[in-house]
């Protein structure tokens, strides 16, 4: 058993499952958005804001946003533990990724509910 306190869920299995579940959510969101844009060729601001004013779309988008945050954290954490060996630099890199992810989530929510 290898101890690790900076991984997403501490357990390897938990991180592995979150990575898979969030990937499915992100795939569904990407397919939906691409489909929407293809089926709405002359998309204007009214249609775009109407789409995101709908509660179900806000739930779906927030789900995708949180999925992206956790997916990215698990991925970047893995990369940092593979390639960055000095503890101090690794910790700084992880802290930077965590802060950036947090900013994106808060900013995303602000945009979503600012529509």
């Amino acid at each position: 058993m290898v101890t690790s306190i900076t991984s997403f869920g501490r357990s390897g299995l938990y991180d592995w499952m979150i990575q898979r579940v969030t990937a499915v959510v992100l795939l569904a969101f990407t397919v939906f958005m691409m489909g929407y844009m293809l089926l709405t060729p002359d998309l204007d601001y009214q249609q775009w804001s109407a789409l995101f004013e709908c509660t179900s779309m806000r739930i779906f988008t927030l789900l995708a946003l949180l999925s992206m945050a956790s997916h990215a954290w698990i991925g970047m954490w893995s990369i940092s533990t593979d390639y960055i060996k000095p503890t101090g630099i690794r910790f700084l890199f992880q802290a930077f990724c965590g802060l950036l992810t947090f900013i994106y989530v808060v900013w995303g929510i602000q945009i979503l509910w600012g529509v």
Binding site: M1, V2, T3, G12, L13, D15, D82, Y83
Partner: protein, 234 residues
């Protein structure tokens, strides 16, 4: 043909170097790489490499031949030589002791971690613990591992974290004991593996499967460990 061999003797050399040797194969036969090494050693007795059984059973002569890990004794030249040239290097990722001889300590430490022996807390029977033919068949494709380290040293996850990731060979053995009907420590074994490194550094790139000289499939065994963890935890 031209053979380029990795040479390093820490007592004499400041840094490793590649030694180019031109050699004629007697009779132009398709000999094994190990036989070629013997010819090289006849020319230059200072060349160091491990060998023992010379028939793919002991796992001593694992090395990197033209970029692919394998056992020199069962690899014919025709399998690896390209444009009449062969590059021989020690197994990648492990510290080199001398020439083609590597220090396997990290590899064995990971093997030791998975407790490679039967654990059974039930009273031993008078003669032996029996298995049905079906139960015995469960460990086919697992028990044949000879610990040559060709798979683990072909795995980037093992290169980056040899102290934390068990590696394909160790995980194949871990599943060999998880799958054994005579072992009763399944829960304890699984609990030891559920961290972000031991098993989950495997990203299923299957380098291990591509190089295993015994034709085994560590990736599949790792998938089965993952399924066992999942079944237990959901």
């Amino acid at each position: 043909m031209l053979v380029s061999v990795y040479r390093y003797n820490p007592e004499i050399d400041d840094a490793p170097y590649m030694q180019d040797i031109h050699i004629d194969i007697p009779g132009g036969k398709d000999i094994m790489v190990l036989d070629l090494l013997q010819l090289l050693k006849d020319k230059d007795p200072t060349l160091g490499y491990r060998r023992s059984c010379r028939e793919g059973v002991c796992g001593s002569d694992g090395m990197n031949m033209n970029g692919l890990n394998g056992l020199a004794c069962i690899t014919p030249l025709s399998d690896v030589v390209e444009s009449d040239k062969l590059v021989l290097r020690p197994l990648p990722g492990l510290p080199v002791i001398r020439d083609l001889v590597v220090d396997m300590t990290q590899f064995y430490t990971q093997y030791e971690k998975i407790k490679p022996f039967l654990l059974n807390d039930t009273p031993p029977p008078a003669i032996e613990r029996l298995q049905s033919p079906e139960e015995r068949a469960e460990i086919d494709g697992l028990y044949e591992c000879i610990l040559c380290a060709c798979c683990s040293t072909a795995c980037p996850s093992f290169w980056w974290n040899p102290d934390k990731f068990i590696g394909p060979s160790g995980l194949l053995q871990a599943y060999r004991f998880l799958a054994d009907s005579r072992d009763t420590a399944t829960e304890q074994r699984l609990a030891e593996l559920d961290d972000p490194f031991s098993v989950f550094r495997c990203h299923s790139i299957m380098n291990c499967v591509a190089v295993c000289p015994k034709g085994l499939n560590p990736t599949k065994a790792i998938g089965k460990i993952r399924n066992m963890l999942l079944a237990q935890a959901t």
